[in-house]
């Protein structure tokens, strides 16, 4: 079974609140969370923030519920773009584990899907999507391994935004058929976080199938993280896990003849 991730927890300068949010996420069963920094170049004097190192935030990371391992925290940058010039992949982007883009126009959505070197494309949830999703850019993004993100916190906050969130999600699902979608919180407060199983169920409301909804909080998020790692390397990455061999019955095998030993191992 794959682990659950929430790839959007809004960064606040209030350190205590951020700590409380990550602790709650660990308690709810998320194994990985991403702290999200947002830049909007439309407002003047916006600079790309430096990601805070995780060790600065926590001396000892909280333990994930139901697991014995501590939670993993990564950094993520979201660039809100209304103009193609806003997205300039500089060295500053490389200090983040994940890069997301929030396109405001149809043209930008098209270029974001087809050419931008990003991991996540954000779908509007606080306003009505000003354009229709077209099949060709969405398919292009799926082919490139870029994921679409739907945040659920606006749907909790306000009933008008809930309408927009559901409407935009359904529009997207009609085109992408539930593929390459992730669901994340974009929470700013502890009480805006929800458990991973709740979100998998909420995915059904957004028009995902049961399997796709669960993948949207687990396996798809893992793909996003791996895609993020490929950005910083030349070609790609290979993820390997060391398997622990069971060490029992060693004494039995030592006594058995060599030919028999291989036989028992095959069974």
């Amino acid at each position: 079974m794959s682990v659950f991730m929430d790839l959007n927890i809004s960064y606040t300068t209030d350190r205590k609140r951020l700590q409380a949010m990550i602790e709650t996420a660990a308690h709810l069963g998320y194994s990985t969370v991403a702290i999200n920094y947002t830049v909007e170049f439309q407002q003047k004097k916006q600079e790309i923030p430096r990601p805070k190192s995780v060790t600065e935030l926590f001396e000892k990371l909280p333990i994930v519920q139901g697991k014995s391992s501590p939670i993993k925290v990564v950094n993520r940058l979201t660039v809100v773009t209304a103009d193609a010039a806003h997205f300039r992949p500089t060295a500053e982007y490389k200090s983040f584990d994940l890069v997301a883009v929030y396109p405001k126009t149809e043209k930008l959505f098209h270029t974001a899907c087809m050419t931008f070197d990003v991991d996540i494309i954000c779908i509007a949830t606080t306003e009505k999507q000003p354009f229709h999703f077209k099949r060709s850019p969405v398919n292009g993004a799926i082919e490139r391994g870029v994921f679409f993100e739907i945040c659920y916190t606006p749907a909790i906050r306000d009933s008008t935004m809930r309408k927009y969130t559901i409407a935009n999600a359904l529009c997207l699902m009609e085109i992408c058929k539930g593929k390459n979608v992730i669901l994340s919180s974009a929470a700013e407060k502890v009480l805006e976080l929800r458990g991973p199983y709740d979100i998998a169920n909420l995915g059904l409301v957004f028009g995902l199938s049961e399997g796709d909804a669960k993948a949207a909080v687990s396996t798809n998020c893992r793909s996003v993280l791996l895609h993020g790692e490929t950005r910083t390397t030349a070609f790609g990455i290979i993820h390997t896990v060391k398997k622990v061999q069971p060490t029992t019955k060693q004494t039995d095998e030592a006594e058995a003849p060599a030919s028999k030993k291989t036989k028992t191992e095959n069974i």
């Binding site: 139901g66 502890v190 458990g195 909420l202």
Partner: protein, 123 residues
């Protein structure tokens, strides 16, 4: 002589027409008290917000409500589970105050709610 232990497999198909949900309400102001009727009202209004009058008519029962821990057990027909659960997920305020309903367990068997394997400490 004792019979050797045999393996038997039971598969329940649609064993229960109900699903049971265990959940706890978390309020910003922790000292605030709530009675069972208010809790049920909160869920019904959540259903009405998301699914309208037809949603508010989904039959479900509040089996227990512990006022000190604000923990409740709900019983709902299988057909209404997804709607009820999603409405509960999207509840964000209770009596003009921020709140969250944490669903701890969902099961077709009431007995399964007596323990939670996720809370057990692993080493």
């Amino acid at each position: 002589m004792e019979e050797p232990a045999t393996f038997e497999r039971h598969v329940y198909k649609n064993a229960s027409v109900y699903h049971y949900m265990k959940m706890s309400l978390i309020l910003e102001d922790e000292s605030k008290r709530l009675i069972a009727a208010e809790f049920k009202q909160l869920i019904v209004s959540g259903l009405r917000d998301l699914y309208g009058e037809i949603g508010a008519a989904i039959p479900f029962d509040l089996l227990t409500f512990d006022e000190s821990t604000k923990t409740a057990i709900l019983r709902v027909y299988n057909s209404g589970l997804v709607k009820l659960w999603s409405a509960i997920t999207l509840i964000g305020s209770c009596q003009n105050e921020l709140c969250a309903v944490r669903v701890t367990q969902v099961s077709p068997f009431l007995l399964a709610l007596c323990g939670n394997s996720r809370e057990t400490e692993l080493d």
